[in-house]
């Protein structure tokens, strides 16, 4: 692409290294000129004056995704028709993606159920770019998960790459150094033709961007299900670290303070990405823009931007900061202005462009990546520019904070936007969309897998265990995770296939955090309320398995079309369930996002609320290793096993069945288990652990053995009335495998008895096979070869 900037109007002087230096006090925020030298190639500008004078001019609000009544409301707010640039801003900021107009009424539940006690650890919560949690010793951690689903279907590599880039900038905007990423991926069946296009592209995109940024990828999920064919989900999470005093927020205050745009230049990529791409289903081809809709990422530019931002923070040069993501400058300027105490004037002529003759609407909507916007006091502008110059980052003063309450944007010297910023950023429409329990829900819940045959002979059970191990649902994700750097920065102490990723925050003390992201969409399909709670439960359990104490939640709620009452019901149920479960566990939701319209035609994806949990470890050296411990250690199962096979991986793999009711979400039991494990870990009692989830006890034993490279000889736990296959494949929650050295067994037993924690000694670690009572022996080499072959057999 040709990189050409328009002639510099308004006294702007580009220097050789790309840093634009403001010329004189009024240079960047040039006052309105009466007769501007508009370039001849640019179409007549739709100014505020022109809009006021031409109320009847037809506008393409529908093509931009605005309903008639929304358009009417904009006219009401402004007292005239919006200019083209204003229409672009409102349409993009009032889109589902940016405004949460369909989800807001339900998301309030998170706020309503969050108590003061739950907020005690929060330095920043919902509404900021990302939540910030106090993790002790003056350290804070910020983390957030976000979707980039639709772009990743259109262009898997760039869609996924820029998904990582976007969430990393959210974390940077809090004043933090990004230290790790995770990715939750959901695609169609492994052997579906389009999966061979989407999955390798997505994985290469996540890897390309994260690897080039120098951020370790510490975990995530890869899930295959037919409902994600044509609707892949790419959810990216980033973790950042900062000192308490380093917290930065997005607001523009102090009249006279300068607005600095820095990072990449603004181009034509990603225009319309938010309003069109993120809010329409794929079957409907109308409203396509002629410009490339998926943004193109440059991780090198972002890496430099990270280091540049950290230097700016260190030197105290930033009053407020906002990343440019969805909706680009429209979002950044309106959010900064509405969160501040004044108005703002922005001069689009000062914005460094990649393409000639971009219109105001295009400049405002562009989603060009790797850009940030900062509020800087006038006396710090020179120092700010000097830091940017060191990193070869382009930085330009594009405006200033003003008295009054208007966001005024000029282009070619004329006012093209003059709006109350809050009406753009926060006062978008809110819909309480109709929702109704789908009529098929009862029949689905009645269709239990209970009637289907269960294996009983030792050879038959072993064969089904092997089938599960080799199934796409459970096969190792090595093909994916081998494309991600997990070592960089030297603080990763656990990553995939560990239950939770663990990163050290403070090298001196060993203080660190554990993070996991989870969802079981099959359970959510059977009962979205319980399913969402089970997602939280599993994520908590994964974090607890490392020995960490869970403290906060982020969520990425992926659903079909909110205009379908059945989908809206799933969403409402999932949010209610998750909010209640968070309250029950005392864990605040600190932020996240909602992704609707994940459907093709009338077929929506399985409801997929992905839940991320953050836990604290006082010393990562005391984290519990993943898998079985040393030879001779005792293997214990914590938790009770019930007959809960509906929705299980066993039902899906062996019987291709999805029906019935999901396992019970026993949050009290999850909390007790987490507390017991955290206590035992802190005292160095546990030599290994692994939570039980997909595939039940059988799969947990297999994974724990393979992780350790050691076998085990075990009996089944007492489970009155249950046959061996049910005990092995049931997916009852609140269970964990732990191993203890022989000398520590009595203490573990004592603690379990004291806590009322169900616990059973299953056997001992050792040998090169898994020997389960009533099941044919399973040699580890066999199990490893079986599982490791599955993904490469299809993906190469």
């Amino acid at each position: 692409m040709a990189v050409t900037a328009p002639p510099a109007p308004g006294g702007r002087t580009p220097t050789l290294d790309g840093v634009t230096v403001p010329q004189g006090p009024a240079a960047a925020a040039a006052p309105l000129q009466s007769s501007p030298p508009a370039p001849s190639s640019v179409a007549p500008v739709d100014t505020v004056e022109h809009a006021a004078a031409t109320p009847g001019e037809p506008q393409p609000h529908a093509a931009l995704g605005l309903r008639d009544e929304e358009y009417a409301r904009i006219r009401d707010i402004l007292g005239r028709r919006p200019t083209e640039a204003e229409l672009a801003m409102y349409s993009v900021m009032w889109s589902e993606h940016c405004s949460y107009k369909s989800s807001k009424v339900h998301l309030r539940r998170f706020g309503d159920t969050t108590t003061e006690a739950m907020r005690a650890r929060l330095l920043a919560g919902i509404g900021e770019n990302a939540g910030v949690v106090d993790v002790g010793d003056g350290w804070a951690v910020t983390f957030k998960i976000e979707s980039h689903n639709h772009p990743s279907y259109v262009e898997p590599h760039q869609g996924a790459a820029t998904g990582v880039g976007g969430i990393v900038r959210d974390i940077m905007a809090m004043g933090a150094r990004p230290v790790a990423v995770m990715d939750g991926l959901r695609v169609g069946p492994l052997d579906a033709p389009d999966t061979a296009r989407v999955l390798p592209g997505v994985v290469s995109g996540v890897g390309f961007y994260g690897n080039c940024l120098g951020l370790p990828n510490i975990g995530g999920e890869v899930v295959f299900d037919p409902s994600y064919s044509g609707n892949p989900l790419v959810n990216a999470l980033c973790v950042g670290v900062l000192r308490h005093e380093g917290l930065h927020l997005a607001f523009a205050s102090g009249a006279g303070n300068k607005i600095v745009l820095f990072g990449a230049r603004t181009g034509l990529d990603g225009i319309g990405g938010v309003s069109v791409l993120a809010s329409e289903t794929f079957e409907d081809g109308t409203g396509r823009k002629k410009l490339p809709s998926v943004q193109v990422g440059d991780p090198f530019a972002e890496k430099v931007l990270i280091e540049c931002c950290l230097d700016l923070f260190r030197d105290g040069l930033v009053v407020g900061i906002q990343d440019l993501g969805g909706a680009g400058l429209s979002c950044a300027t309106s959010e900064l202005a509405s969160a501040g105490d004044g108005g703002m004037h922005v001069d689009l002529d000062a914005v460094p462009l990649r393409a000639a003759d971009m219109t105001a609407a295009e400049i405002l909507s562009s989603e060009s990546q790797e850009r940030m916007c900062a509020v800087v006091t006038p006396e710090n502008v020179d120092a700010f520019m000097a830091v940017c110059r060191r990193w070869d980052v382009t930085a330009t003063v594009i405006g200033e904070v003003t008295d009054g309450e208007r966001l005024r944007i000029t282009h070619h010297g004329r006012t093209v936007v003059d709006v109350p910023p809050r009406t753009v950023a926060h006062d978008g429409p809110v819909y309480d969309r109709p929702y109704a329990r789908p009529e098929w829900q009862d029949a689905l819940q009645a269709d239990s897998v209970a009637g289907r045959p269960r294996p009983s002979a030792p050879g038959e059970i072993a064969a089904q265990i092997r089938a599960l191990v080799a199934s796409p649902a459970l096969a190792p994700r090595t093909w994916v995770t081998e494309q991600y750097d997990r070592y960089v920065r030297g603080n990763t102490t656990a990553a995939t296939p560990a239950d939770a990723g663990v990163v050290r925050v403070d090298e001196a003390s060993g203080r660190g955090v554990a993070v996991s992201i989870d969802a079981n969409a099959r359970f959510c399909q059977l009962d979205p309320r319980v399913g969402a709670q089970l997602a939280l439960a599993e994520s908590v359990r994964n974090v607890a398995s490392s020995g960490a104490v869970p403290v906060a939640v982020t969520d990425c709620l992926n659903f079909g079309s909110p205009e379908d009452p059945a989908v809206m019901w799933q969403f409402a149920e999932a949010v209610a369930g998750l909010a209640d479960a968070c309250a029950a566990l005392g864990l605040p939701v600190t932020g996240g996002n909602v992704s609707f319209y994940n459907q093709t035609g009338s077929a929506a994806i399985l409801p997929t609320p992905v839940v991320g949990v953050l836990g604290i470890l006082e010393d990562v050296a005391r984290a519990v290793p993943h898998g079985l411990g040393e030879a001779g250690d005792a293997v214990w199962l914590l938790g009770e096993t019930r007959d809960e096979l509906d929705g299980s991986t066993w039902a899906g793999v062996v019987h291709e069945h999805l029906g019935g009711r999901p396992p019970r979400a026993d949050l009290a039991a999850e909390a007790e288990l987490a507390a017991l494990v955290a206590g035992a870990a802190a005292d160095g009692l546990l030599s290994g652990s692994h939570d039980l989830s997909d595939g039940g006890l059988a799969q947990a034993l297999v994974e724990a053995a393979l992780a350790a490279g050691r076998g085990a000889t075990v009996t089944l736990p007492p489970a009155p009335g249950l046959d061996p296959a049910t005990v092995l494949f049931s997916e009852t929650g609140a269970r964990m495998l732990v191993t203890v050295a022989p000398g520590d067994e009595a203490e573990l037993a004592r603690r379990c008895a004291e806590a009322g924690q169900a616990a059973a000694r299953l056997g001992e670690v050792g040998g090169d096979a898994l020997r389960i009572e009533g099941v044919d022996d399973l040699p580890l080499a066999d199990l490893r070869a079986l599982g490791e072959a599955t993904l490469p057999a299809v993906l190469g």
């Binding site: 120098g214 090198f300 280091e307 081998e482 991600y484 750097d485 920065r489 030297g490 102490t493 050296a621």
Partner: protein, 225 residues
Amino acid sequence: MTSRIGVITFPGTLDDVDAARAVRYAGAEAVSLWHDDADLRGVDAVVVPGGFSYGDYLRAGAIAARSPVMGPVVEAGRAGMPVLGICNGFQILCEAGLLPGALVRNHGLRFVCREVGLRVEADTAWTSAFRVGQEITVPLKSGEGRYVADAATLDALEAEGRVVFRYTRPAPNGALRDIAGISSADGRVVGLMPHPEHAIDALTGPGTDGLGLFTSVLQQLTAAA
């Protein structure tokens, strides 16, 4: 006096913090060098760390090899100063002409992150703490890690004992003759694709095998002092 080992940061360098940590763990002082620096601040040895210098646009390591700081590095390396290039650093040393051959795209065309076994095959400034034939485990993480050179160069490297590290199993990137790392003729400049700086602590890596490279150079420097 404590030995001072420089660690270069180019825009896009990623493993500089890790290299500096490894230098400290070995007992030396890590000195930050910036790509724009015109001199080496009096350091006794230099580590060129991994990452994607200048985005690796054009060709991996090509732009960094021509950066201001590399002038004195090449000069010092030719004069016998110990220089270690890791991953992107290895690519840079090849591009700068300090080491022969080139690193090209992995034969599988994908980035590979995995712990690999390496056999130490030469006694150099960076491997004296190992015995020749010793096998070590360190992480490999690269998309362009396949070592290539013409047959004559490869034969010469083998004959002169300049193949420093060889993958113990077939190279995951298709490197010719399973070569993971090589040295200059005097054994002072070493480049390798795997990351010894990620194997200095069992808590964060596969073990502590990688520390041997850094203790080796420290021994050399201390003995020479």
